[in-house]
Each structure stands twice: as C-alpha cells, then as structure tokens.
Symmetry: C2
Subunit: 251 residues, 2 copies
DNA sequence: GCAAAAGTGTTGGAAATACACCCATGT
DNA sequence: ACATGGGTGTATTTCCAACACTTTTGC
C-alpha cells in the first residue's frame, strides 16, 4: 500500500509502507511516470450544423481514420497551457472557450505505449479561422456523421458532446459559436443543432428576452432574402453578476 | 509543433514537425513522462452532517495539514482501477459510488516534482466501514470546517463538493450515503446536508413519491423516541429504464 | 399526558407550452 | 406579387412554494 501524502509513524501500524519524501521523489522522478497528452474536441457551427474538427490519422493501425487534435504534455508545461497551445496551433486563435471534460486512462488506449489523455472541449466561431484550415488533412465533420475514430477518440468525442449538450443548457456557451453580433434565429439554430431538437420560435424569444442578457446593437442582418432580423450581443458582465444558484431535485 | 496522431506528409507544409510513430514511442518512453496520481474525495454522512475523509500530512512543508487520500498511478494500472484501489485500501469496500471529477495539472502543485492528479469523488455509507478507520491519522471532517488542506487539495475538494451538489440534484446519488433501507426523513437530511439548505417536508415527500422510484419495504424505524417512520429502498432498475432526457435552457 | 417527529392536501403564482397572424425585405 | 423568414400575444397547463393540523410512538 502506498501513500503519497503522509509519512506518519503512527499510521504505520495500519499502513504498511508509508513513504518518505525522498522515496516519493524517487518514484516521481524514475519509476511511476506516464506519458500524458491533451486531446481537444473543437466544435464549430456552420451551415446550421454542429461540426467537430478532426485530423486524418496516418498510423497504419488507424489508416483512413480521423482523430482529435492532441499532443503530449511537456513536463514543464501546465496542463491547461498545453490545451491552449494545441488550440492556438490549430486555430490560430487565443481567448477561446476551453473547458476540461474528462481524463481517459485505460492501459492500452494508445499503440505507442502508456498514454493517459485529458480531453478538453472548445467552441469556436468557424468564420474566424476558416483560413487556417486549408490543410486538407484537417476537416470539419458533422457531429452526426462521426462513426469510428482512431484510438478511443469516439468515446472521448461522445463524452464531450454529451457534456456540451448538458452545459449549453445551463451556461451561456452558445455565443462562442457565433459572431459577436448575431440574430435570434442564428442563436436558436445553434441550440437546435447542439441539442438536436426543434424549438418554438416565439417561446425561444420570450425565454431569452426574459433572461435579459441580450443587448440590442441597433443593427440588422444584411443581404438576407427576407425580412432582416435584429442583431444582438450577449451581455457577459450582467450575466456574471446575476447568474443564478440552481436548486431543485430533478431526475 | 507536435502532433501525436498524424504523420501526414501533406500536413507537413503546415505543421512543421509532425512525428513518426517511432518518434512518438521514443517520447512516450523516455522524454515526456509525468508522474500521475489519483486523489479521492470520499464523502460520508453522519450525525446529519456531510463529512469528508482526510488523512494527516506529515510532510514538513504541510505539517499539521490534512490531505485527500491519494497515490501514484502505476504505469501498468488502469486509471479507474487506481481509484478503486485507493478506495479499497482506505474503506475496505468494493462496489462504491465513484466518479471522476477533474484533473489538476499545474506545474508546481506537488513538492516532490511534477505530479498531475486526477480527482475522484466517492460516496460511502459511513456505518459500513466505521471499523476500518480507527487509525487516528484518518479522520472524518465536516465539510463546513475545511479551511486549508495540504497541496492544492482545498481546490480539489471544493471542485468536488460543487460537482456533488450539482450532480445530486440530477442523479440518484444520495442513496449511496444511506443504508439500503432508509426513512424519508433521513433522505431529506442527506439532501439538506449536501445542499446546505432547508426543505419543506411535505413538498419533499410529494416530489419523491411522484417520481415513483421508492419501494416501501413495509418496515418501520426501530428505537426512535417518537413516531417511527416507514422505510424505503431506491428502485435502481426502474430508474435506469425511466431516466429522463433533460431539455430546457436555464441560466 | 407530553414531547417529538411522521404523515397528509390545498391553493396561488410562475413558468413552460401550444398555437396563428401580420410585417419587412429581396427577387 | 410572392416567397421567405421576422416579429408578436394569449390561453392552457404544469410545476413549484407556501402553509397547519392530526397521528403515532417513547418516555
């Protein structure tokens, strides 16, 4: 039995092999180390569909399969910094929505050896970085068309997508997929795409106007073949002040 | 720039240093490895209070501070298996509620070197293993009395506690803190302790009876100095069949 | 009989849902 | 003029919150 934190002699009666700090240091340095990677599930919204950014895997074992964007974490690099680095490399953008999802640590999940991976979910405005992904090894995939991915990335993707569906209903994430200024129809399209459902337009508007977090920017849509809608932006400051505490048993 | 999954020559125009499998293997084996640990936030319920199980840390740097129960992950061990191992070592119990919370990977979070830790949350019935924690280096602490813990364990604890508060409202976790048979009052006490709030007794009963997941076991409380309550157990099978899909924007 | 908690229904307000018509623009 | 989606209001239902008295047991 190990114990990473305690070296109590008192505890030794129960805990057979409590370690000294130098023992821990030896293990940390030489014995128990594992390769750690980050995988980013990068969502975008285009043509009224929710998309995920994938790269072609050319490992023989996974020929013709797609995989998430990932890399090893450098031992001198914060975990979150590694995730931001990967995003920056792939999208060219800073200041993105990025959130940790979960860590996947089965022994044989990677053919190169023991690699534990931390999954992150990111939401980006697909217009803003379209120029960066001319590379035809990188591709946006409709989330409905994901069949099998390389490694355990299908599982990672599904976990991330479910978490996104959950979180978008409780937090103002959807705006990260849209331009700063957007119409209510675009916003509703994002929700419908993420949740894979249809909503009533009038009730959707009522809901958002009653939350009172949308700022009317006094502009209209341009070049639409129908009556143009008003544009809004999300009031993050007001949201941060007012966000509710949620109590209510419901399962 | 690295890439763990792709070795496309096509991509090389954009991605300066895409790696071969053998390069990846070399890095996984020799270069980029990091010590990985698991920390368990073990919650219990006793005397109508929510408790967390901590061990005394005797590292000089953290003398007199308490810490979570954790250990290094063995490179030949599944991540989840490591968490179950730690739980088993400390509580003697298998088949516990155990769920991953989050991974903490700041560079200097551990004095022994670079240690990234995966936090897990567990709920146990405190009666069942009371005998295992005679060791006075292990102690149940009221969650309200947690001030500072060793390492970054305060942050880990708070993240886990918040997640518990969130999840207990949407999933039937509370029953893991109680005996198989429990009274509605005990159940309500668990919710009130976790959520740190008071609830209306009649509405609480109405809520649970209308969900219709409680089985009346036709037994009563024994040896209470007042009218004894009926005992129930939770119908997990029925819950699994019926659990609802939740749709509704609310933030 | 008294203390202590179990058990039980109703009502008002808030929020969610369902639903149909007129309006502004591009073609 | 017409096709397309923008914009709006009301009635109904469902859910939640507030609230007080009677019952059963141990002492």
């Amino acid at each position: 039995m190990y114990n990473l934190y305690s070296m109590s002699t008192e505890a030794n009666r129960l805990l057979k092999s409590v370690k000294t700090l130098s023992t821990i240091q030896t293990e940390v340095k030489n014995i128990n180390r594992i390769a750690l990677s980050v995988d980013c599930v990068i969502f975008g919204f285009d043509e009224n569909k929710l998309k995920v950014l994938l790269i072609r895997s050319d490992l023989k074992k996974f020929h013709d399969k797609w995989s998430l964007l990932g890399d090893l974490v450098d031992p001198r690099e914060d975990l979150n910094a590694a995730a931001y680095r990967i995003l920056k490399e792939r999208t060219g953008l800073n200041d993105l929505y990025l959130e940790q999802v979960s860590t996947f640590g089965e022994i044989n999940r990677h053919p190169a050896g023991r690699v534990v991976t931390v999954a992150y979910c990111s939401l980006i405005n697909i217009q803003h970085h379209r120029l960066k992904i001319l590379d035809n090894e990188l591709h946006w995939h409709d989330v409905h068309d994901i069949t099998d991915l390389a490694f355990d990335h299908k599982q990672i993707f599904e976990t991330s997508y479910r978490q996104l569906q959950r979180r978008v209903q409780e937090h103002p994430l959807a705006f990260s997929l849209l331009p700063k200024k957007f119409s209510l129809r675009e916003l509703q399209n994002v929700y419908e795409a993420i949740l894979d459902t249809k909503m009533d337009r009038r009730n959707f508007r009522k809901k958002f106007f009653s939350m009172d977090f949308l700022i009317d920017v006094n502009e209209m849509e341009q070049n639409v073949p129908h009556r143009p809608g008003k544009l809004y932006k999300f009031n993050y400051e007001k949201y941060e002040k007012k966000k509710k505490k949620w109590v209510g048993i419901d399962f």
